[in-house]
């Protein structure tokens, strides 16, 4: 390979990447531009133009000093508690979901007995439990985190159970023949086998956690969080701020999902290659 072609390769790759990004975003940019034109022409107070929403977002959250990553005090006061609750809720859901799910997946009989109950639990619309937790736990972070866990645990639990159940029988036989300990089986066979399903569940749980985070913050008695800001702005008929909070939540969901996909891709390297790669 010549030096010139080696040097031009990253440049080519960067060019291709830019083309892909441009194509993917072209439609979105065009739609936002159209929205901008329509809302400006109409001048409706309920539908401020996107530029006004972006300006409000900037003013509210991202006009802080560079030393604080451009975050305003309002951003740290609202975003951080929200993200913290969501992280705590997801972590709790992940721990409980994987533990219970794997245990159930490895005991088919228990799973069969509990299946109707699990399907029922999963079918209850998650926000409906929040009022129950308000009564049981009073208002505050404990109630909010519990609400997130109660809704986000189901996809992880059911997927982990499914993943742990469908371990390749040849791998199970191999573990039996070589007398692997229960810990080794769990660590080297069952959990890795269930991992793709667990990630699929986690992606669903992530969006549920976002919904429940906002919902639980909208209840009276909450003093901070994005959900609080949303409901507060609505009560003041401050439409640009309401829209800014909605847009922020959308961006947050998108970023978190992208982050999770990145983690998933790293963690599952090899899983995909194996499925089709049994023949030389």
């Amino acid at each position: 390979m010549s030096v010139a072609s080696a040097a031009s390769r990253p440049a080519l790759a960067a060019g291709r990447l830019a083309a892909v990004v441009a194509r993917r975003w072209a439609v979105a940019v065009a739609l936002v531009a159209a929205w901008e034109i329509v809302t400006r022409r109409r001048g409706d107070v309920f539908f401020p133009p996107p530029s006004a929403i972006v300006a409000r977002m900037h003013e509210l959250w991202f006009s802080g000093p560079a030393t604080r990553l451009w975050l305003t005090p309002a951003a740290t006061a609202d975003l951080l508690p929200s993200l913290g609750r969501m992280a705590a809720g997801l972590a709790g859901a992940l721990l409980a979901g994987v533990t219970l799910g794997v245990a159930l997946g490895r005991s088919p009989r228990t799973l069969a007995y509990l299946d109707p109950l699990l399907q029922f639990g999963r079918s209850v619309p998650p926000p409906t439990l929040v009022p129950v937790f308000v009564v049981l736990l009073h208002l505050g972070t404990t109630m909010q985190v519990t609400s997130i866990v109660s809704g986000a645990v189901w996809p992880i639990l059911l997927n982990a159970a499914d993943g742990a159940r469908s371990v390749d029988p040849v791998q199970t036989d191999t573990a039996r023949v070589f007398g692997l300990s229960a810990t080794d089986r769990l660590r080297t066979i069952i959990l890795p086998s269930a991992l793709p399903k667990i990630f699929a569940g986690l992606r669903l749980s992530l969006s549920l956690a976002l919904i429940l985070m906002v919902f639980s913050e909208m209840l009276p008695g909450t003093a901070n969080g994005i959900g609080f800001q949303l409901i507060d702005a609505q009560s003041r008929s401050d439409l640009p701020t309401t829209w800014a909070a909605v847009a922020l939540l959308g961006i947050l969901g998108y970023l978190l999902n992208t982050l999770l996909l990145g983690v998933e891709r790293r963690a599952l390297r090899g899983h995909d290659a194996t499925r089709g790669g049994e023949r030389p």
């Binding site: 040849v170 191999t174 039996r176 023949v177 692997l180 090899g270 290659a273 194996t274 049994e278 023949r279």
Partner: protein, 247 residues
């Protein structure tokens, strides 16, 4: 070493094996050959303790098999599924050794020497799916060797690799088998059964039983072409073939 008496098994009421008697001495390599689907794998699974036979007894060193016996290793045909894709080749080989105790360094050394024996020292840090099929099966063999089993069961181990690789693996097996290691080698390939076995046991019939038990006495061994052109090899192959095809 291994004694099987009156073994019988059925799947869902459909009899597969009937009255199988077989005695294997320590250090022997016995080929078990028969038509596809005749119950060879079932026999192996019963010996491995993975399937409980409906009738008969299996004894290893005089002790009846109930559950998976210690000191046993299996090389499955489905190498791609038997190796763990998320572990490196070295960790795959070292994993079963955890039960044997010893330090991590000792286990790694044992894995390294087994990989060296099958000629794969260079790929120890790779993942199984990055290797060719033949190499993956050599990893599975290394894993079994590192375990130092007293009984090694091989279920159509070279059934899904190409012909050249298959011959290489047959020779590898003959090189690495230790004098203390008893091996049951299940195959549907008549040539292969004669080439690797000290004895060829033919399973046939429905339900299947032992129809022939032939000692293999070849003047030279372990050289593909020279071995296969000996008169004795040709005679044995024909005899095994007749027994396998006999309906």
């Amino acid at each position: 070493m291994l004694q099987i008496d009156g073994l019988g098994h059925a799947y869902a009421g459909h009899p597969v094996l009937r009255d199988v008697d077989l005695t294997v001495r320590r250090g022997e390599l016995v080929s078990i050959v028969g038509p596809s689907g005749c119950g060879k794998s079932t026999l192996l699974r019963c010996v491995a303790g993975l399937t409980a036979p409906a009738r008969g007894t299996i004894r290893i060193d005089g002790r009846p098999v109930a559950g998976v016996p210690g000191g046993l290793a299996v090389v499955f045909q489905e190498y791609g599924r038997s190796l763990l894709p998320w572990l490196t080749v070295r960790d795959n080989v070292a994993l079963p050794l955890r039960r044997r105790g010893g330090t991590r360094a000792q286990r790694r050394a044992a894995a390294a020497s087994a990989l060296d024996a099958v000629g794969l020292a260079a790929v120890a840090a790779r993942r199984p799916w990055q290797l060719s099929g033949g190499m993956q099966q050599r990893v599975a063999i290394a894993r079994a060797l590192a375990f130092r089993p007293s009984l090694l069961l091989m279920d159509e181990p070279f059934g899904s690799v190409d012909a050249q690789t298959r011959e290489d693996l047959e020779d590898l097996l003959l090189t690495v088998r230790g004098p203390e290691m008893t091996i049951l080698f299940v195959t549907h390939d008549i040539d292969e059964s004669v080439y690797v076995g000290d004895r060829v046991v033919v399973l046939n019939g429905s339900p299947a039983g032992v129809v022939a038990d032939l000692p293999v006495t070849l003047p030279t061994r372990g050289e593909q072409i020279a071995t296969r052109e000996q008169a004795e090899f040709v005679r044995l192959r024909a005899e095994v073939g007749r027994q396998v095809r006999k309906a």
